[in-house]
């Protein structure tokens, strides 16, 4: 099972991923991003992120 994780060091909190998420699975606050369990790992957020702050990783 893969899971989307985000890299806090890279993320600019621009909200572009939120705009393309088909499942409203991304919670963005002032300085944090959370991928909720609505996520289906469709990869939209990974590909749209201007700076590649999101990636799909194997769940541990």
């Amino acid at each position: 099972m893969k899971k989307i994780i985000y890299n806090r060091e890279l993320c600019d909190f621009c909200g572009t991923c939120v705009g393309v998420c088909p499942h409203d699975a991304i919670e963005l606050s002032e300085n944090d991003l959370e991928i909720t369990d609505k996520c289906t790992v469709c990869m939209n957020c990974v590909y749209i992120c201007p700076i590649r702050a999101l990636e799909a990783k194997d769940e541990e």
Binding site: T16, V18, G19, Y47
Partner: protein, 390 residues
């Protein structure tokens, strides 16, 4: 901060501030909430506007809002042909930080309250109607009630989603963008510069917008469809290395530009969306400042009337979408068709178009002429282009 207002505006960009200004002007009590510590920052924008458009919403442009006056565009074809086109209309590269703060001050002068570091995390819904917002501010959580909430929360557009509106942007229509503001950019500063090429900016373009004295915004946007193999940030780095190796970077920003068709509905009971949140950018240019302000003005005026009439139903607020559609929305439908065409042109098509324009004397060149040459095999599209460029 009170616990009830007539109107709450979420987001203090140009669309939000303009909505707040016009709602307050009509006598409504208005609260505008900005999540960041400072209005106008970060500037996720190339900062270009046309004078004519801005002056439909503002009486004047303050000199401190303007970094550089622009008199035309310079286009670079994939093979490197340079096509200069002088514009009939004057343009400006703004200082968005000062501009956005100026617009917020105009709203404040009409009586709107403004709070920064105020993060809206949900709507209050009562009897299936929007009735206010939930906000975090300096470690505390508040519920603030309002008869009308105006969502001006940008590309994320979460306010609309919470109210049940479909604000998601298809991948192909979201332009993912990266931009440097950099020094030592040696180009003619009277022109905005655009680079078109599948290797520089696939399904998009790269811009250099001068800000004066060697400073410029250098950025690009590419379709979400074109960013699977390489990030837009990497495209930017490669371009800088090749074209401006001596540049010194002052600011780095990234963000998304929703270049989609207009949403079906940008209002609901007690709610209106404006600006990027309502997907109101010009899909072909990606420009959204003036459109956001025009929409903000209409939303503010309709909110003011709704407050006076004490009628906050979706039906009452639908007037806003009609006003927007008749002013800019219907043009955006045409701009979207032009975008679909231009973004699917091959490098050879782009070079061929550049050649045709280069053969024309300066005084015969125009942006409409450019589109006409590009779409020579699509006469129906030319007729539509004439509608939006004249």
């Amino acid at each position: 901060m009170k616990n009830k207002y007539d109107v709450i505006v979420v987001g203090a960009g140009p669309a939000g501030s303009t909505a707040a200004r016009f709602a307050a002007q009509s006598g409504a009590s208005v609260l505008m909430l900005e999540k960041d510590r400072e209005v106008g920052v970060p500037v996720r924008c190339a900062e270009g506007v046309g004078e004519k458009g801005v002056l439909t919403v503002l009486d004047k442009l303050e000199p401190q809002w303007i970094d550089q006056k622009i008199t035309g565009v310079m286009l670079y074809s994939p093979s490197g042909m340079e096509v200069k086109v002088d514009s009939k209309e004057v343009g400006y590269v703004l200082n968005r930080k000062k501009f956005d703060q100026g617009l917020a001050e105009l709203a404040a002068k009409e009586g709107a309250e403004i709070i920064t570091k105020a993060y809206v995390y949900d709507l209050i819904i009562k009897d299936e109607k929007v009735a206010g917002v939930k906000v975090k501010h300096l470690g505390n959580e508040y519920e603030i009630f309002a008869d009308i909430v105006i969502g001006a929360d940008g590309v994320e557009s979460r306010v609309g989603r919470w109210a049940g509106l479909k604000t998601r942007v298809p991948m192909k229509d979201m332009e993912t963008c990266a931009q440097y503001t950099a020094q030592n950019i040696d180009l003619d500063e009277n022109y905005c510069h655009f680079y078109f090429s599948s290797s520089i900016a696939p399904k998009g373009y790269l811009w250099v917008f001068p800000k004066g004295n060697g400073l410029a915004n250098v950025g690009l946007g590419i379709s979400g469809e074109a960013s699977k193999d390489k990030s837009v940030y990497q495209y930017l780095e490669e371009f800088m290395k090749e074209y401006f190796p001596n540049a010194a970077i002052i600011t780095t920003v990234v963000g998304g530009d929703p270049c989609s068709l207009e949403q079906d509905e940008i209002y609901a009971d007690g709610l209106m969306l404006v600006g990027d949140a309502a997907r109101q950018v010009n899909p072909v240019s990606g420009g959204g400042i003036v459109n956001g302000m025009v929409a903000g003005k209409f939303a503010g005026i309709v909110a003011g009337k709704a407050v006076q009439e004490k009628n906050f139903t979706a039906k009452r607020l639908s007037e806003y979408q009609k006003l927007w559609h008749n002013s800019e929305g219907k043009k955006n439908k045409i701009f979207y068709k032009l975008k679909e065409f231009v973004y699917n042109m091959s490098d050879k098509d782009l070079d061929d178009t550049a050649k045709v324009i280069l053969d024309l004397p300066m005084e015969k060149r125009s942006i409409l002429g450019l589109f006409k040459s590009a779409m020579v095999k699509k006469p129906s599209l030319i007729l539509e282009a004439i509608k939006v460029f004249t």
